[in-house]
Symmetry: C2
Subunit: 182 residues, 2 copies
């Protein structure tokens, strides 16, 4: 959850929630300096790194979903590109260097204000290790994917697309959206 | 430019710029309540709406680039998908309804902490008009595109891809990044 906006981060005066002139949605507007504090969706960018026919997964050492498996991915940072974000997250979480292939899935998750992106990628060497945010890093073939212990629905969707596309002999680019779980 | 972070937006105490435990980059952290105020890239989402062989462009009524031409596009909002953002921006800026085709370009602009996305799209009717943020809305064929008056480089790149792909008879998906202008 993002911190609540009660005060202006620039001048510390109280803010009001109102529709600025020329806008159509309520924003947090500073009553004193007039600064408008927008909130927008964030990108979570990752990679699906292959070594031969196996996929690198990381077991999460942090919340949410501590102990569950995921593809290396995380929040995109300012001053980087989406490709740089995917490579950085893979280095940080799996201590692995990759070569990126095409962008593969882009899944909007509007109820949590996120968009999840995954690139297909290849490990440059069969060398990897848990980074600070991982308990364990390992390669999985299709039969051994721990489907009941995948951390996030967008990751499970991406893995399912990968196996289906690989079986079909053609990798598409998948743009989707998911609703809240019931 | 985003407002400077000098104070905590939750409790109004001063913030320090420091690397939180387990993190690798400096963040604005509240000295009193401990809230971490992240800043991340924003998505600017738009459409390339076609009517027959012509493209809908909007002349901007707002800064930056007042008076210059652009595809309908703008900041993605919380609680929406990328497809909903593209359709909403087209309604707001061009009073036009579209049917989205595939996502077409995704261009990282790291020096301004943005990622620009454009969908190909078709106008449902030849009905459009300037919204509040547009001076003028019009259809352009390839020969009449006002290349010297296009508002943003990512829009010019998208238009050039479109004409090249159309001539080649095949529309790809283009993932790129641009550096600051010299």
């Amino acid at each position: 959850m993002e911190p609540a906006i009660n005060y202006c981060c620039t001048c510390a005066a109280p803010v009001s929630l109102r529709v600025p002139q020329g806008d159509s949605l309520p924003r947090h507007v500073c009553d004193v300096c007039g600064a408008i504090h927008y909130r927008n969706p964030r990108m979570v960018v990752g990679a699906l790194p292959l070594w031969e026919d196996r996929i690198l997964l990381c077991r999460r050492a942090i919340e949410p979903r501590h102990g569950y498996w995921t593809l290396p991915s995380g929040f995109m940072e300012n001053q980087e590109t989406i490709a740089e974000a995917a490579a950085r997250e893979t280095r940080e979480e799996a201590c692995a260097d990759i070569e990126l292939d095409d962008l593969y899935t882009m899944i909007s998750v509007p109820h949590i204000n996120q968009v999840h992106l995954v690139f297909r990628a290849r490990l440059l060497k069969a060398e990897f290790a848990p980074g600070e945010e991982s308990l364990e890093v390992a390669l999985f073939d299709e039969a051994s994917i721990p489907w009941d212990e995948i951390a996030f629905r967008t990751i499970a969707i991406t893995l399912r697309h990968f196996f289906a596309d690989r079986a079909a002999g053609r990798f598409g680019f998948h743009v989707e959206a998911i609703a809240p779980p019931r």
